[in-house]
């Protein structure tokens, strides 16, 4: 969203904030016109709403055991059946969404913030610091996520926090790389040079003038990374190294379902469908955001 240098002159002078707002609304309009984008947006909104209002959408306690009702098939009473401990699977899917939402918000935001800060420092700072940070980014990126996760869990204990740390270590370098590239592209542009010649201090230049322009592509990447963090959680939980029982998580539901797959496939379907939908939703949304807000793509169209 490097809007400053590209904005055409108009009759009335437009402030940078107004320019960004106009670009945002324009992008949003394009997003909703894109069918995939609209579908993605609906799925994402439903994802957040169902997670937020989970306690109001089901009468069941996700942790209450009812062993005599174990492995019940789907019915009006239990929309997605019950698990091995007789817990309502639909309820656990909804509450599993809360874990996914926490991961999406906290881990992705943390990765974005860390990547943004380090990337801007790398791009704006001295060359030796850039070299060190790039080395760190590339080293972290060279580890396959699940392998790194297994190594970390082996020396800690599995928990939601650990999953978040694993994801941040995995994703922050990607954010950092993009932030660095954007910063390097911007730091010699006329409006930045003008600010500096007027005596603006580096923190002000970075936070007020560069960050808004660097942030755009990172937000698109963040949307695309939500399915990644959700599947990292599912993968680790499936291996028994993620969210621990009795906390409901989609990966945990998949794991429990896998062991009784041939007796009742409902658990695997119940754990797998939200993963598929969330992945599709955020991917569609991310792609559409990129199409809408990337000025180069917009110009190409």
């Amino acid at each position: 969203m490097a809007v400053a240098p590209d904005v055409p002159s108009s009759s009335l002078p437009e402030t940078p904030a107004a320019r960004r707002a106009r670009a945002f609304w324009q992008g949003l309009k394009e997003l909703t016109r894109n069918p995939f984008g609209a579908v993605g947006l609906v799925i994402v909104v439903l994802f957040f709403l169902s997670a937020l209002f989970a306690p109001y959408l089901t009468p069941y306690d996700p942790y209450a055991l009812d062993v005599p009702s174990r492995l019940a098939r789907p019915s009006f009473e239990h929309l997605l059946g019950t698990d091995q401990l007789g817990r309502d699977t639909f309820t656990r899917v909804l509450y599993g969404g809360r874990i996914a939402m926490q991961l999406a918000l906290v881990a992705v935001t943390a990765a974005l913030v860390i990547g943004l800060v380090l990337g801007m420092i790398a791009g704006y700072g001295p060359r030796w610091l850039d070299s060190i940070l790039i080395l760190v980014f590339d080293t972290l990126r060279s580890f396959p996520t699940i392998i790194m996760g297994l190594a970390i869990v082996a020396v800690t204990q599995p928990s939601l926090t650990v999953i978040m740390v694993i994801f941040v270590l995995h994703a922050a370098p990607a954010f950092g790389r993009i932030a660095r590239t954007q910063t390097m592209a911007l730091k010699n542009t006329e409006f930045i040079l003008a600010e500096k010649s007027l005596g603006a201090r580096t923190p002000l230049v970075l936070t007020r003038h560069m960050m808004p322009n660097v942030l755009g592509p990172l937000l698109i990447l963040a949307a695309m990374d939500v399915p990644v963090v959700v599947t990292v959680e599912a993968g680790l939980s499936f291996l028994g190294l993620g969210i621990q029982p009795p906390t409901a998580s989609w990966g945990g539901i998949l794991k429990e379902g896998y062991s009784v797959l041939r007796e009742t496939p409902w658990l695997v379907i119940a754990g797998g469908m939200p993963l598929v939908l969330t992945t599709l939703g955020f991917t569609f949304l991310g792609e559409a955001l990129r199409d809408s807000f990337d000025p180069k793509l917009r110009e190409a169209r």
Partner: protein
């Protein structure tokens, strides 16, 4: 795997026979030959009694090498009988067993006849330099009294010696001449065999094939070939069975439940003994659990029936101690009941509140389900439980001092051991010298130690049973145990086969019959 020289017509015929076999529950009849296909869960690494270690290795050994005794189950109890190689077998006194071999059993590769010298060589070799030498501790020597006869002399009385040692694969007899010619040791290439079957071929990572030994003087085996096919994953073995690729295989607890509901056509389920035992253990030295009242409260807080229903749908036997049904000392009832009110009261009396415990378990589906029941049970009495699932190797290091520092923070754990055919093989893990190794509960009791030594030598079955009952009572009184289950080794097989499976879950191929 297709063999060389098989024509397309043979292939079509084989496919037709295989399909028909699958549909009718028949074993394969290929060109007039009957082939029994069983599952090997791991590859063969050694067929030498000195170094063999796994079930599947013993399965091959007991089909190809002589033994003096074999295990039989009579009225739900485990006993032994002299093997087909033995003409007479007599317990002379507490430390002497006299045996006489039948003449006419010849070793392959022209290594002569099976003699008492072979028995002496095999047993004394096993005692001296074997990974089973602990099991041979009671054995002293063999005195050869004739070409076919001898006396097995024990160092001290051990009434279970025949059942636990002589009837086990570790007591397979090898040909002295053949093994010495091979340099005193061997691995998979057996220098000589003397059994109903002989090894036809071993394809590493694929299968072991046995065929009847043409010079076997006894009853001819029912099958023209036994193929022990490597299928490591148990669920894959179940699928292979359903696809007609196997005729007999062990099945998982989930598979057992599934097959009980809907058995494949032409199939039956066989259960070997319930020789495994599981419990919820507590580290008595851990500060959170050092007060016996806390441990007793946990005993009362756990709803074992519900846990077993959730984990196994009732397909296992509820345990009331460590010794399973069929063995001397099996307990019919434990000394505590599920009573959450009492658990709360005992905790209050101990002045404990806000207790948080780590429950370690192997990362297996049924264990995690059961652990969650415990988590809910303990939450109901005010104890927060964090379930920590661990991979198999990591789990078994948790209480062992040689394996790291984890034992220091070990709190409660869901664990399961497998035992043998004598109660001595169950209680031995809980003696004082096992603290830091397998006695993860880390308690000791002088009376338990005395009983352990005395019971192993006691020849009166009733007195022995009383001793083992008392030992389990001592264990329970520590508060460190919640007895959980005895699970069976379960198998599915074609109805065209009558399998022979020893209580520990090993196939006796020589005794498999066609129905």
């Amino acid at each position: 795997m297709l063999q060389e020289g098989i024509s397309r017509r043979d292939l079509m015929l084989g496919a037709g026979v295989l399909t028909a076999g699958c549909l009718t529950g028949e074993v394969i009849y290929a060109q007039g030959r009957t082939i029994l296909r069983s599952r090997n869960k791991a590859d063969i690494e050694s067929l030498d009694p000195l170094t063999m270690g796994t079930t599947q290795e013993r399965e091959v050994m007991t089909a190809t090498l002589p033994r003096l005794a074999r295990v039989v189950t009579t009225g739900g109890a485990y006993d032994w009988e002299p093997s087909v190689y033995v003409e007479s077998f007599e317990i002379v006194d507490d430390t002497t067993i006299a045996f006489k071999l039948k003449p006419g059993f010849n070793w392959s590769s022209d290594f002569g006849e099976l003699t008492a010298e072979d028995v002496k060589y095999s047993f004394e070799r096993a005692k001296g330099d074997s990974q089973w030498k602990d099991k041979w501790a009671a054995f002293d020597r063999v005195e050869v009294t004739g070409e076919y006869s001898g006396n097995i002399v024990l160092a001290y009385p051990f009434p279970a010696f025949t059942l636990t040692v002589l009837a086990h694969g570790m007591a397979c007899v090898v040909s002295r001449a053949a093994v010495e010619a091979a340099g005193g040791k061997y691995t998979v290439e057996m220098p000589a065999t003397c059994g109903p079957y002989m090894v036809k071929e071993w394809i590493p990572k694929q299968r072991m094939s046995l065929v009847p030994d043409p010079q076997w003087p006894g009853e001819k085996p029912d099958f023209d070939e036994v193929q022990a096919i490597l299928v490591a994953e148990i669920t894959a073995a179940e699928l292979a069975y359903e696809a007609g690729e196997l005729d007999v295989t062990q099945i998982s607890p989930e598979g057992f439940l599934r097959y009980e509901e809907a058995l494949p056509a032409g199939s039956a389920i066989a259960n070997a003994g319930h020789l495994n035992y599981a419990w919820l253990g507590m580290n008595t030295e851990h500060p959170k659990l050092s007060d016996i009242r806390v441990r007793k409260a946990i005993q009362h807080a756990i709803d074992v029936d519900t846990a077993l229903q959730a984990g196994f749908s009732g397909s296992v036997i509820k345990a009331n101690g460590i010794i399973p049904p069929g063995l001397a000392g099996h307990r019919e009832k434990s000394g505590y009941d599920y009573d959450p009110e009492k658990a709360r009261a005992v905790l209050a009396e101990a002045g404990v509140s806000g207790l948080e415990l780590d429950l370690k378990t192997m990362n297996l589906p049924e264990r995690l389900v059961i652990a969650q029941v415990f988590q809910a049970n303990l939450a109901a009495v005010g104890i927060k439980v964090n379930i920590i699932p661990l991979e198999v190797g990591t789990y078994w290091n948790q209480g062992r001092e040689k394996k790291g520092e984890e034992w220091k923070d070990l709190q409660i754990y869901l664990t399961r051991f497998g035992g043998g055919l004598d109660p001595s093989g169950y209680v031995n893990w809980f003696v004082k010298e096992q603290i830091g190794n397998w006695n993860w509960e880390r308690w000791t009791d002088p009376e338990f130690e005395e009983l352990y030594l005395a019971a192993a030598k006691e020849s009166d079955t009733e007195k022995r049973a009383e001793m083992y009952l008392r030992m389990q009572q001592i264990m329970e009184d520590t508060g460190a145990y919640v007895w959980l289950w005895h699970d069976p080794e379960s198998f599915i097989h074609r109805t065209a086969i009558v399998p022979s499976i020893v209580p520990g879950g090993e196939f006796e191929y020589a005794y498999f019959k066609k129905a």
